[in-house]
Symmetry: C2
């Protein structure tokens, strides 16, 4: 097997067209360098250079090794640098699962900052139901996931993200109190609601001991679809404030914060305890915690 050290020696000699000068560049004495070239020739079973008068001249094999060898050394240098970057978490792929499209928006800002600082990191988001996302973690397809409680605290490490209020998105015709900027579950109870599955559980729990039954007209896990449905006038969409990047530029739409702590949703970033985090993921989490 070719030895890169000797290859490097040879290429330096070929560049300098002189063993003595090459030895200086390599911070070594001339005789062992000369010897190493001979050894390299023996190892390859090939003449690489020979003295012609006082100078040195490459054979055709030597010329080929000179050209291609340079490329190989170069590609190895690039590879080494890449490895360092990946190791430092400043390059590579960061895969994040998010429990339905409800999750991703909470990270959009941090992703943006991280990308600006480490443009060599590629993000990959996997949207799915919460239980599927957990299995993606288990299969190590994703490094991190954004989920909503409850989840098993024994299996996962987690960071709780800032709580996020729900907002109610509706056409004006559904707005029974146009002067108020907020609303409540009680106010909303009799009007048609468009909610996601998680919120359905919330509401069911919330109204458990009450006589009021919410009027759920549609359950959908995709925020954009929910907003579209709201826009058609089907009902009132309850979505996390952070997910409200799709603002319909129409006067006819009304956005109200649902004014009740229990209505806030509580995204968590989780990852498996039993596996060591990738370095990129680690670096990303540090960024999040620094905020």
């Amino acid at each position: 097997m070719l030895d890169l050290k000797k290859l490097h020696y040879f290429i330096t000699v070929a560049n300098e067209a002189s063993v003595t000068n090459a030895a200086k560049k390599l911070n070594m004495t001339q005789p062992p360098l000369s010897h190493q070239i001979k050894v390299l020739e023996k190892e390859l079973g090939v003449e690489l250079m020979h003295k012609v008068g006082r100078n040195i001249e490459l054979t055709s094999a030597g010329a080929i090794l000179h050209e291609q060898g340079k490329e190989i050394l170069e590609s190895i240098n690039i590879l080494e640098k890449k490895l360092q970057d990946v190791h430092n978490g400043t390059a590579g792929i960061l895969s994040i699962g998010s429990a339905t499209s409800w999750g991703a928006p909470f990270l959009s800002e941090q992703v943006s900052i991280f990308n600006e600082r480490y443009p060599q990191v590629q993000f990959r988001f996997y949207d799915d139901m919460q239980h599927s996302i957990l299995s993606l973690l288990e299969k190590r397809v994703v490094d991190l996931s954004i989920v909503f409680p409850p989840f098993n605290h024994k299996l996962y490490n987690y960071i709780a993200m800032p709580k996020e209020p729900l907002i109610a998105v509706m056409r004006k015709k559904w707005d029974t109190a146009p002067l108020k900027k907020t609303t409540t579950f009680e106010e909303l109870a009799d009007r048609p609601l468009i909610i996601n599955m998680k919120a359905e559980e919330h509401l069911t729990a919330y109204y458990k001991n009450s006589e009021i039954k919410p009027n759920i007209v549609c359950v959908h896990d995709d925020v954009r679809s929910m907003l579209l449905l709201a826009k058609t006038g089907l009902g009132i969409a309850l979505i996390p404030k952070a997910a409200n990047w799709v603002k319909y530029e129409e006067n006819d739409m009304v956005y109200k914060i649902v004014d009740r702590p229990t209505s806030q949703i509580n995204p968590h970033i989780i990852w498996l305890k039993k596996y060591k985090l990738s370095n990129v993921a680690d670096k990303f989490l540090k960024l999040i915690m620094a905020e």
Copy 2:
């Protein structure tokens, strides 16, 4: 600098996903292999793999090194093989100068055989005047040249190729003796001749002490042009028999051997004594001498 031996170790371990199995494949014991991987990690400053339970698992940096490292090792293997071939003279470039297009035809058969046997060798022909060709040899642009005597026997090694008769190519109208298959300089003397520069010297020498003066209508160094001129009926082209690959498929053309030993031309392959021949050139010469 990355060490290819260790890289090879690492890749084997990564392929096997086991140090023990890899050690078997590498015909070594397991502990030093494990140790070398650790050393490699230290040299790179990067974690490549870690135990997870009883098994081993690549880090993302390790996965990258696995992929790219394989490619690098592969390209090095290919390079090594190529170097062997070039060294054996079974691959590479063989540059041959030929003193005008008169030269190349003498080698066409050998070139063809050589190419069939060693298809990785590329031939490059350089056609020019004899003195230019000699300077191409001196500049080491070409390895070998085909020339015609005289040349300096002290500077060049040479192989004399079989002597080659001239043939006279003419339209029927110039054929004064249709029954004879050969002709002579005397017969041709009064008819218009199309010859090359070398032949001009020959003829001048030949007729030096004679009263006959040859009727030279055109001097041209390119065989194909000479044949074309003959075909137009301008005169009689004198060309080496070997160069007669351009046969005009017309009944109106006549081809006659010039029947006189002195009219034979005498191609030589020459190369510089003071430089060592390239291995391809050497191999090619061996082929020629074997015939």
